[in-house]
């Protein structure tokens, strides 16, 4: 690692102030950033740890929505998001237990790894990403690989998920990293079904509109018969071809719908 200073503010305001300095970078749970720092792929002068900010932690159900503090770790979401079981299950399947005790929802969304789980939940739920300055709809938040609508120094303070009538997340793990080779989050709301896919696309998380249309008309796995994703634009790597990933998206979506019944 390069040398850097580390600060651990206890309020969002202090964190924002600290991030205003040159070459300052926010540190969530660090489960992605620290390995990146070890490879010297990032060289901040100051890291602003968000782990000491109590106001950014916690899960709270209110008015048909679930609000989760940006600094809430995956284990806490898994244990406390019982109002949104599919989301709790997703959180309980990220990484491994030790990673879940450190990694945070805000860190995961801000990083927008193309194979991360949380972006699919946020997108499929039409979640609202709340920062220190504004609220951003999930549809406007994700902007391709490792890129989001966040400005420099902007912190995700919480994420608000409208709780659906039914939902499920199905992940097919890449055998080495155990990240999603394909992960599909299906959420059924009164006004329609949303389907978001992570892991598959070269452009990161995306909504699968053909599946959404079919499932909004008929929320059953059979409704997806004949609906498929174009392999163009899907990832090909050591672990599978674009065609395989496109196929898996269909399989995982059907399984998610079946599980959400």
């Amino acid at each position: 690692m390069y040398s850097f200073e580390i600060g651990r503010p206890s309020t969002v305001a202090d964190a924002v102030a600290a991030l205003g300095k040159d070459e300052a970078q926010a540190l969530g749970g660090g489960q992605t950033l620290i390995p990146t720092l070890k490879q010297r792929l990032a060289s901040p002068e100051t890291l602003v740890s968000l782990t000491g900010i109590a106001e950014m932690k916690g899960v709270c159900a209110e008015d048909g929505a679930l609000s989760i503090g940006g600094g809430t770790n995956h284990a806490t979401v898994a244990a406390e998001a019982s109002a949104y079981p599919a989301l709790a299950a997703l959180a309980g399947g990220i990484g491994d237990p030790a990673v879940r005790n450190r990694g945070t929802i805000g860190g995961s969304l801000a990083n927008n790894d193309p194979a991360a789980c949380y972006p699919s939940a946020a997108l499929a739920s039409g979640a609202t990403i709340v920062t220190n300055t504004r609220e951003i709809a999930a549809d406007d938040f994700f902007d391709g690989l490792f890129t989001t609508a966040l400005e420099e120094g902007e912190i995700i303070t919480s994420v608000r998920f409208p709780v659906p009538e039914a939902a499920a997340y199905m992940k097919f793990e890449q055998p080495a990293s155990r990240f999603a080779m394909v992960g599909v989050f299906v959420a059924k709301y009164a006004d329609g079904v949303r389907v978001a896919v992570t892991g598959g696309s070269e452009d990161g998380v995306f909504r699968w509109s053909a599946a959404e249309d079919a499932l909004s008309a008929n929320f059953s796995a059979e409704a997806l018969d004949g609906v498929s994703v174009d392999a163009d634009g899907m990832i090909t790597d050591l672990h599978g071809s674009a065609a395989y990933r496109a196929h898996l998206i269909g399989v995982m979506t059907k399984r998610a719908v079946a599980a959400a019944q």
Partner: protein, 161 residues
């Protein structure tokens, strides 16, 4: 440099650390607690698992500065002061749950965290919980068996032996 004060295995420690000092470096180099091992640099192998405020975390993926005020437990604190092994440690020895010993501290720390939350895990739950702990020697058979035995379950019917 930043000053941190924390409790390690019940003992209070105050040290000045660099911003980029990892918990593993702090424990191994500053405190000479070399039982916490480093087996990878991508947060996957779990040889470095320690407990911070009672939760299992990967010591290689946390900065020492972030542990200010925390209670940290490492493998060195698992046995009684008189050397008597903990139930989990003893089960690992009884069931040959280790060979080269390098992954063992992380395995024991993960097992302790599992049994705290789930005192009678099934085989599948043990295997699932160990997702972040790699062992290259045992094929996991005797590790899983040892953890189930440590939870008080009868493992005599498990294949082999």
């Amino acid at each position: 440099m930043v000053e941190v004060t924390l409790k390690v295995n019940g003992k209070s420690v105050t040290k000045s650390v660099k911003g980029n000092t990892l918990m593993t470096e702090f424990l191994r180099d500053e405190l000479r607690l070399t039982g916490t091992h480093v087996g990878c640099d991508t947060s996957q192998c779990g040889a470095c698992v320690i407990h911070v405020n009672g939760e299992a975390v990967k010591g290689c993926t946390m900065f020492a500065a972030e542990a200010d005020g925390a209670e940290v437990a490492t493998i060195e604190g698992m046995a009684s002061p008189d050397g008597t092994l903990s139930v989990i440690q003893q089960a690992f020895q009884d069931h040959h749950g280790l060979q080269c010993g390098f992954c063992t501290p992380g395995m024991v720390m993960s097992a302790a965290a599992l049994l705290k939350d789930n005192p009678k895990p099934t085989e599948a739950e043990v295997r699932d919980y160990l997702e972040g702990n790699l062992c290259r020697c045992t094929g996991y058979h005797n590790i899983v068996k040892a953890i189930m035995a440590a939870s008080g379950q009868d493992v005599s019917s498990i294949a082999a032996e």
